[in-house]
Symmetry: C2
Subunit: 335 residues, 2 copies
Amino acid sequence: MKRLFNDPYDVVEEMIEGYVSAHKEYVKMCDLDEAQGRVVLAKDAGTKDKVGVIIGGGSGHEPLFIGYVGEDFADGVVIGNINTSPSPDPCYAAAKACDNGKGCIYLYGNYAGDVMNFDMGAEKADEEDDIRVETVLVTDDVVSSDNIADRRGIAGDFFVFKVAGAKAATGADLDEVVAAAEKANANTRSMGVAMSSATLPSKGGPIFEMEDGDMEIGMGIHGEPGVRRGKIDTADKVIDEIMDPILKDLPFVEGDEVYVLVNSLGATPLIDLHICYRRVAQILEEKGIKVYKALVGPFACSMDMAGMSVTLMKLDDELKELMDAPCDTPYFTQK
Amino acid sequence: MKRLFNDPYDVVEEMIEGYVSAHKEYVKMCDLDEAQGRVVLAKDAGTKDKVGVIIGGGSGHEPLFIGYVGEDFADGVVIGNINTSPSPDPCYAAAKACDNGKGCIYLYGNYAGDVMNFDMGAEKADEEDDIRVETVLVTDDVVSSDNIADRRGIAGDFFVFKVAGAKAATGADLDEVVAAAEKANANTRSMGVAMSSATLPSKGGPIFEMEDGDMEIGMGIHGEPGVRRGKIDTADKVIDEIMDPILKDLPFVEGDEVYVLVNSLGATPLIDLHICYRRVAQILEEKGIKVYKALVGPFACSMDMAGMSVTLMKLDDELKELMDAPCDTPYFTQK
């Protein structure tokens, strides 16, 4: 165990306290009772003439989700325990705090617990405050199911949130924001590889066992089973193995233009990620697929898990414009 | 071993190739022969009426150094092998590429190999091209020596580079940029804790042995010995132990205003860093020291080492203004 915390049962509360204190120019706590200390808001949440953009899910994936709350991105985040969906009341509180008459959108990865609790939050917002809340689930993980609607959301969350946040910032109505988020999700595919388990603070040890030197291709960000376990291969071979299903799935074809995200699951350093990116770029060039821009770094993590994922989003003019739109949050700022 | 690369002896070259490809809107390779493929430049390096800001050192600390090359920050980076200083000729090439008549400043952490090779680069730039190059060494690691001039540079590099980059962007002359960088360094103190070794690709294993569950207070970012090895304590106790020498050293006193950097050495996740930041903020509040702003995340790493460091920079109006100045690089953008 190589982690730093105090009481393992205070990890999320202390993280939130530290976060709101460190990034006080950007965020504040939601002071509604129903928020239960688990909703963090952009400083100007609920004050602009725009759709409220609300993201969330379990803790342990930072900077996802909390790191993307700020200006012209997400207005609020609902925070669950580690690898656990948030409760319904905080989901409701976030909608109440972020709505300014145009309604709200919930955006999160497709996990059963999150769906159940965010849906209950949306229902309460409708019944008690007449706030319209729509939901777009992120389903980018190609190996998690053959049926797209059943797939999990992983690092593709970032692209879908960014697109929706930028669309909302234009003053678009809720249907337009939903349409942009749905297009972003429909155009996004990801796959990852894990080389270790994350450490669960309450257990003081790994969530699952993995022998040193092994990898699991396709593993999810909570340790969900992947498609193959074996010895860690060269970066190029690993990238070849995860790029193939990604490219075939949409499919991404010659002439397409893509935004690339090479994401660390936590402990995999930038040096390795850029070696991986090098191979991603080679493959895309061979296929005649143009890289519009790329992001490389920790965007959607699993605490201290070693591993990485590749995400591609196929672009059109609207998606390019929304991805390029300025935003300012503690973990993603763009001029 | 939980790392992804190809031939371990190609790690730095492939990282650079991937980096320049991924971040092509920001950077380009330096095409001078003397650069030896180890100098990366901002797209507009050497074209503006400003002092050329050059940073560098060994690889493995990413985003330090390469991540801070871009607009209104560093103009060029000289890249050594892992944990190894760059060679003199690339240091020279960076000066030649970044100079536009106002001279250049070399900024890097105080390590003997770096000092020797950057000095040789500066000498060659003077002799062959009549370029004036000044150097400011970063010496923020309080436990590395009682004598400040002998101290190593760790995460405080970031503050010194940011201040110098912003000062140069104002069009200030070389003496003024040197003075700003020297003030930033004089006002900055850091200390860290390591909980594991980084993995050295060429060895396929750890650089040094550390038992699981142990920590070493004060360890350097290449694994230089710290002040105490023991069992990992609670985050609050660890922060208490590293904040005390930092505060006493400058000293930071009641009424001071500081910029805080809570830095991951690689594998320590944001959740832990924010728990650590929470305690840093409590201590500063108790002491009557005001936090101006804070940064929390991976800024100066040691590949996949588990651990973190705390850096404080005492601020005056000039340092605040320079820290707040806009900049745009792949790993630090500020509006």
